[in-house]
Symmetry: C2
Subunit: 130 residues, 2 copies
């Protein structure tokens, strides 16, 4: 499988695949003419990467999962390092949820205040009727 096919099957771009390779996440073979050649396992690796990135992981966070898959496991999350990352990410998400909830509350409060204290001493965009 060449890079174009992998990109299509993984739902991404060739640029992205080369980017992952440059960062050591994917290691294709090379054919005689220098083309990158991927096997089915790499497709699974790329899908794992994509899935994790979609959830908000960074490339570094993904590494343990890739290594885990490469070690022959059925899924990338069953290795200790992956679990560590999962725990850390979960904690991060929890923190973020807390802060975002606080922000939401503040926005609601401010919106209430704004509506209660409506003013007309406000900037006119551009006069709609000349």
């Amino acid at each position: 499988m060449l890079i174009g096919e992998l990109a299509e099957r993984a739902g991404t771009s060739t640029r992205t695949l080369r980017y992952y390779e440059a960062h050591g996440l994917v290691r294709p073979q090379r054919s005689a003419n220098g083309y990158r050649v991927y096997d089915e396992a790499e497709l699974r690796v790329v899908r794992e990467i994509r899935a994790l990135l979609d959830v908000g992981f960074g490339l570094d966070d993904v590494r343990p999962f890739v290594a885990c898959l490469r070690a022959g496991n059925a899924s990338g999350d069953v290795c200790p390092d992956s679990v560590l990352v999962l725990r850390r990410k979960l904690a991060e998400v929890d923190d973020y949820l807390d802060r975002l909830t606080a922000v939401r509350q503040q926005l609601r409060t401010q919106l209430t205040h704004a509506i209660a204290h409506r003013e007309e001493t406000c900037p006119r965009k551009r006069p709609s009727a000349p």
Copy 2:
């Protein structure tokens, strides 16, 4: 008040104040020697900007609030445009909360799966005992 003092009183940097000015959010006077001169009103403007950015607003989102303050209002949120932004931001935050909650749920599920299917077929970092 010169830029250094304003920066300190607003809890930010001179670089930041010049940045805001370059983006049309702050308009200081200039003294004879070319120094930027700010009045108390600008301090309030800068504090408003900072507060909104801290909550996750972008500079563009902040503009209506600044204009509202400049129009002479006691707070920057009482103008129609500000209210629009507040509503939009609240909706964005709600969306993000939903997605983040879904992500959290997925992480918990995956973590559970990972622990249930622990494997030792995993990559060794560097052997800790040679």
